[in-house]
């Protein structure tokens, strides 16, 4: 199978994720969409790895998984903290850090 198919799927998933990050306001969903983007990248990496016949891309993908796990931990922690303080779960409302 041509590598193009894999890349097209990867690009589609990435765009779905990016679109979700941009349009959704719930931080939980934004995190999910971020995961989609990361996994799209993983798919592309593994496809390239397969194409080149070495395992560099797979190692890369594993590292991305680890980073994603960390990121989810921090992100979910933040969301729980926001929820505990009864702040609105809405990224548009959380905008105190403006210049």
């Amino acid at each position: 199978m041509s590598i193009a198919w894999y890349l097209v799927v990867s690009a589609l998933i990435f765009c779905i994720g990016a679109g979700g990050v941009l349009v959704r306001r719930n931080p939980l969903v934004i995190l999910l969409c971020l995961e989609l983007m990361l996994n799209a990248a993983n798919l592309a990496l593994i496809a390239f790895s397969r194409m080149h016949g070495n395992s560099d891309g797979q190692i890369f993908a594993l590292i991305v998984l680890v980073v994603a796990a960390c990121e989810v931990t921090v992100g979910l922690g933040l969301i729980v903290a926001i929820f505990r303080r009864r702040l609105p779960i809405d990224v548009d409302e959380l905008r105190e850090l403006q210049g």
Binding site: V23, V91, R95, Q98, G99
Partner: protein
């Protein structure tokens, strides 16, 4: 040890005293601070004696020794031979002895006099620094060291005059002294440039050789201008008209400080400077004549002002001005030995008079006005004795020291002939005034019905102020640091003060005997090597002039004392009659010839107006309006534009990030295809 090593040690000890007292002021107890301060100057005096004996061991032709510790090594680039060097010759050793000797006694006096003051260690640190600065000034072997010492003395005087720094009048007086001294510093530095330009060297001996070698023959105008500018420095330091107004105000400092400023250090610097630079002044007679005339005018004007002052310290201050006028007149006319001789005798009796005045002020619980004092003769016999000795020496009654030195000056000036005769006559008028104002002070303070404080003291109780006040304006003070301490001390109760004053009284009595015309010439012989190149060194006044002068001086002094006795003792109340009879003159004198007002009108106010004008126009508009505000508004406008991007919307940031990433990717795609 070599002569110069002794001289370096003279500099070292006061510096050590300054540092130890200055750095350890928290830990040193009162006794330790006073002991260290006094010992430092005492050791310096011992070393000065060492330098004296060592110097006398050299041949008369080899008594000008230069020692350099450090070369600032700018010779190669700018042609200035800047060195950390000292010149040890009879003149500097003489000055060293006077400065350290009198200062030691003043330190000893201060140990008791300042004993209750908070800030005791600070006081001794400043005092040692003052002496150190003065020693740098008199020992410096080139113009650089001279200027450094000169500026140090000004700074030290500021510190000491404003020693009671919470007293408004004292800080103002300190600032005034400092500013006027800086005017003098500027004159000295500019004058040095004029001299350096054609002599090519900063070194004193090198400069003198250049003058002798004719470096200024074609540029005598530059030399005269340089000497006149140097004179500005000398006049400011030595309180000569019109730069004298700081001196009476300097009485705001503690009394031993006045004693130090007036007797041993500071005001004698101008006399020393002219004597030190005598080859320059002899090559520029116009400048030397200016000095003589200004000295003469000063001695007369200061004498008249002293007649009318009621603050006991100010009377002595104006008398110092007057006596320094004699010295400046002497060295300006070429009578260096006579001027320096008077410098030495004056140091003795003026230090003594100030110490005695300090003792009376102590008995008056800080009050200084002669109007309040009277009849202290029985209550304070020792102080009275010191005052009489100092007063006799100051008025020039034989055989006290002032008689011989003042007479030598006047005989020398009279012997110059020509228009110097006018100075000679004014000098004798000044001598008469000296006797009158000195004895006016003594009669008013010691004769008459005893005042309350004197009566109490006769019963053994020292007056004590219920509420401490500033004697100048009556403001209420406390006795914490920054104000005088709670207790006052008088000489009768304090051994160190008594010792210091006794030694000075002996000096004031006998110091003149070292130089009696036709009998002995100790000072002339000693100073001869320094002034050997002077064209006036062999100008000895004839016997007739000398003896006539001595007789005239004695008669005038006794007449002055008699007049003072008549006005203030025999016929009390006649002073008021004199005041009304000579009302215009009285107003002139009591207002100090309006010098303060004139300087205020002609210098201070124009400068203040110019400053205010510049502030309103240049500073407000150009500096503040354009430069400062302009810069901030540019930065503010720029940051406002950048700040607008920071909306706080997370999704907005994410969109920008994506767009940016996409743009980069697109760029590489397009670039690679």
């Amino acid at each position: 040890m070599s002569t110069t090593t002794w001289a370096w040690l003279v500099l070292l000890f006061p510096l050590l005293g300054t540092l130890i007292n200055g750095l350890g002021y928290r830990r040193l107890g009162r006794g330790a601070a006073g002991a260290i301060g006094t010992a430092a100057i005492g050791l310096a005096f011992v070393c000065a004696l060492g330098a004296l004996f060592s110097l006398q061991g050299h041949d008369a032709e080899h008594r000008e020794l230069v020692s350099s510790l450090w070369d600032y090594a700018v010779t190669g680039t700018s042609g200035v031979d800047a060195k950390l060097s000292i010149l040890v010759d009879p003149l500097s050793v003489y000055m060293m002895l006077v400065v350290t000797g009198i200062s030691t006694l003043i330190h000893l006096y201060s140990v008791s006099y300042m004993s209750s003051d908070h800030g005791y260690a600070r006081y001794f640190s400043y005092l040692n620094f003052f002496v150190f600065s003065m020693l740098v000034l008199v020992l410096g072997g080139n113009f650089l060291m001279l200027i450094v010492g000169w500026a140090f003395v000004g700074a030290a005087s500021y510190l000491l005059i404003s020693f009671w720094y919470r007293r408004g009048t004292a800080t103002q007086a300190g600032i005034k002294a400092f500013v006027i001294n800086v005017v003098g510093d500027v004159g000295l530095v500019l004058g040095t440039f004029f001299v350096l330009r054609y002599s090519g060297t900063l070194d004193f001996l090198g400069t003198f050789r250049a003058v002798e070698g004719g470096a200024f023959d074609a540029h005598n105008g530059a030399l005269v201008a340089g000497c006149l500018l140097i004179l500005v420095g000398a006049f400011a330091k030595s309180a000569q008209i019109p730069l004298h107004t700081w001196l009476p105000d300097a009485m705001e400092g503690p009394t031993p400080v006045s004693s130090l400023i007036h007797a041993a250090t500071m005001v004698t610097a101008g006399v020393y400077l002219i004597a030190r630079l005598h080859p320059l002044f002899e090559a520029a007679p116009a400048a030397a004549d200016t000095a003589a005339i200004v000295g003469c005018v000063t001695l007369l004007i200061a004498g008249t002002i002293a007649l009318t002052q009621t603050d006991i310290k100010r009377v002595i201050a104006y008398s110092t001005m007057s006596q320094i006028g004699y010295m400046i007149m002497a060295v300006g006319a070429g009578g260096y030995v006579a001027g320096l001789f008077h410098l030495m005798t004056h140091a003795f009796f003026k230090a003594l008079l100030f110490m005695a005045a300090g003792s009376i002020i102590g008995a008056m619980a800080g009050a200084q006005s002669l109007d309040k004092m009277s009849g202290f003769r029985k209550a304070m016999p020792f102080t009275f004795g010191c005052f009489v000795v100092g007063g006799l020496a100051l008025s020039g009654v034989p055989p006290f020291s002032g008689f011989f030195s003042k007479d030598e000056i006047l005989a020398f000036v009279g012997n110059r002939g020509g228009w110097f005769v006018a100075l000679y006559v004014v000098g004798y008028i000044g001598a008469f005034l000296t006797a009158v104002y000195t004895w006016r002070m003594i009669f008013r303070a010691f004769w008459g019905e005893p005042c309350a404080e004197a009566k109490e003291l006769e019963h053994g109780h020292l007056a004590h102020a219920e509420v401490p006040t500033n004697p100048a304006n009556g403001e209420v003070e406390d006795t914490d640091v920054g104000f005088p301490g709670p207790e006052h001390t008088i000489a009768e109760h304090a051994m160190p003060m008594k010792v210091a004053m006794t030694l000075l009284a002996i000096g004031a009595t006998v110091a003149g005997l070292v130089q009696i015309p036709n009998v002995d010439h100790v000072i002339t012989n000693f100073l001869e090597p320094t002034f050997a190149d002077s064209k006036y060194i062999h100008d000895e006044p004839g016997n007739s002039l000398t003896y006539f002068g001595m007789a005239l001086g004695t008669v005038l002094a006794l007449l002055g004392i008699a007049l003072a006795h008549r006005i203030w003792v025999a016929k009390p109340g006649s002073a008021a009659a004199w005041r009304t009879r000579f009302a215009p003159a009285y107003h002139l004198f009591v207002n100090k010839w309006w010098f303060d007002e004139a300087i205020d009108f002609f210098v201070v106010r124009p400068f203040a107006a110019f400053g205010n004008f510049s502030r309103r126009t240049f500073e407000r508009v150009v500096v503040e309006g354009t430069l400062v505000d302009g810069t901030t508004s540019v930065v503010r406008a720029g940051s406002a534009a950048v700040r607008a991007i920071q909306t706080g919307f997370l999704r907005y940031y994410a969109a920008l990030l994506l767009l940016g990433g996409a743009a980069v990717v697109l760029y590489f795609l397009i670039a690679s295809s």
